[in-house]
Point group: C2
Chain length 343, copies 2
């Protein structure tokens, strides 16, 4: 059975110029699925016309009169823009007209709106942002990547549960291993929150591997890596910065003179294969976990290919029954913890 | 005038097999300097014999009967190993027989011992670990990289002062710019500690740029990037892990078959230039700042070239008068703050 996805067509640095073609390309590859493009109808129609595509029962347009700015305050957006493309796309998830919502808009506004409209799952204190990253062995799910800047141990435990469930649902891995991001592998390392979280994780029925360090993330030692949002956001952006710098150094070296340019031309097939392999666009699409609905956030600067990857991510979560998985897990887990808390 | 450096010859994964040849190479390039190799005399002499080098007034051996293990508890090492190569090398700095000490040993033990023997500078609550990283524009000094896992705003301010002074002394830059590592550029972003630190930095006479994000580090936006030790350690190790993965992917792609191998052979000059440019060994050598003496920590797994770079780093700090700079700055700065605190 196909899935239905609501796309905030106006979000991101490029708005409908990226979101509409990405949606059309996605549907070409997934003719069983349905997309609802939410945004200024005139603009969306203009984009569809450029692509020579018309509305259909598989590609619908849902008009929204407002757009949330990329730098707009989340609270103001939540209060004043009730007819924004972002808000209406999330509303469609709330009303079960769409299985998931995808937006490249303002992260803070998207999280605030999603939290307000969809509410958090019972037993989850705070939603988290999770993303998949490439490793030498496959991929790793890392969270939180910036939704929560001051976490306690219980929050980290909940992130572990949610990340674990996401990997189960999407990658079909039973009981995925969970690593706790720390500055050393020994138990005595780290700050107080991390030490307490390690204890909670050990006592939990999750497949807790133990502490992992920054350099372990890309080794693929665990399926899930858990950290607070400040640390996760810095780590993620730092790797983005490093990858950009290395890429520009490699280009510079190959562009140095006519000889190096000739070498680049000869080595092009390998350089292209390498580029594809490390293409960060393939990993675009961060999942907001812990909500009563699936919301995927695309990078604001995403191009058509990258935004299509974020749509794929959302569709995978719907197909994998991520939401049901996560609700069941959280419920089961809370029931199991109840007697302990009483005792 | 030459500088004198005390080398913990036994530290690191490879001990004297790396430290002794690195010291000898260093002296060949800096015949005006002096090195005191501290460690098991028999072992050091054996290494010198292999290299066909003998002791001299420029290359001395200082016997130490004990060695601190790489996994040894810092507290136990401090209490029980008073004759370790690490301890005696630091003692030489304390006694002003050496201008700096370099060790590839156990980080925790080195910091605990350095702090105990040398003491912190007046006005500095906690020493920090600083390192230089490459950027697209040159290099950036980042701290703290793991000495302090629970920092308050005042600590971050002190790190900023120390990092700024290190850059002034070593890179001869007046009033270096300081960035505060955060998860967004806006003032409202980040956790409470970071928000308070931003206020303190704004009120200080440091050249405060404002918040920087993870991806800004390698852009060379500021000369110094300040963060707490947990975040800094994770960010540093994450980039190490990513660089390793990208390197192994590039190697794999070029080794895929006979054609790609031929391409690698042709492109070798460019690949070598690229490799040299991003060679992390050139940045080996983290400075312990805030102590009454210069201590440089080499990566435990450093090879001869990398360890030599750490020795260079220590020598640069001595030549740049880093210690005097930092003491004067801290003193001046505390005097300037005094009336405010009274008022």
């Amino acid at each position: 059975m196909g899935v239905t996805l609501a796309i905030d067509a106006m979000g991101g640095d490029h708005g409908s110029k990226v979101t509409v073609p990405a949606a059309v390309q996605y549907l070409q590859q997934h003719p069983e699925d349905t997309i609802i493009l939410v945004g200024l109808e005139v603009e969306i129609q203009a984009e569809l016309q450029v692509l020579n595509v018309s509305q259909s029962s598989r590609l619908m347009v849902h008009h929204a009169t407002e757009v949330v700015g990329m730098d707009e305050s989340p609270q103001l957006a939540l209060r004043n823009k009730k007819q924004s493309s972002m808000r209406l796309a999330i509303n469609l998830v709330k009303e079960a007209q769409a299985g998931a919502c995808v937006s490249a808009g303002n992260t803070g506004a998207l999280m605030a709106t999603a939290r307000y409209v969809l509410k958090t799952l019972p037993g989850i204190d705070r939603p988290a942002i999770a993303s998949f990253l490439p490793t030498v062995k496959g991929e790793v799910c890392m969270l939180d990547l910036g939704a929560n800047v001051d976490c306690n141990a219980e929050h980290l435990l909940q992130f572990a549960l949610m990340g674990s469930t996401l990997v189960s649902a999407v990658d079909h891995i039973d009981n995925p291993s969970v690593g706790l991001l720390n500055i050393g592998s020994e138990d005595i390392k780290g700050n107080e929150v991390v030490k307490q979280a390690a204890k909670l994780l050990q006592e939990s029925d999750l497949n807790f591997y133990g502490n992992v360090e920054g350099n372990d993330i890309f080794k693929g030692i665990t399926h899930v890596v858990v950290c607070d949002g400040f640390v996760g956001n810095v780590a993620l952006k730092t790797t983005e910065g490093l990858a950009q710098m290395l890429g520009s150094f490699l280009r510079e070296e190959f562009n140095r003179n006519v000889f190096t340019k000739a070498m680049a031309a000869i080595a092009m097939p390998v350089l292209k294969a390498f580029k594809h392999r490390v293409d960060h666009r393939r990993y675009n699409g961060a999942s907001f976990l812990g909500l009563r609905g699936i919301v995927v956030k695309s990078h604001g600067s995403a191009d058509i290919y990258a935004f299509r990857c974020a749509i794929e991510r959302a569709a995978e979560e719907v197909r994998g029954g991520m939401l049901q998985h996560i609700s069941e897990h959280v419920e089961k887990w809370h029931l199991a913890r109840q007697p302990k808390e009483v005792a």
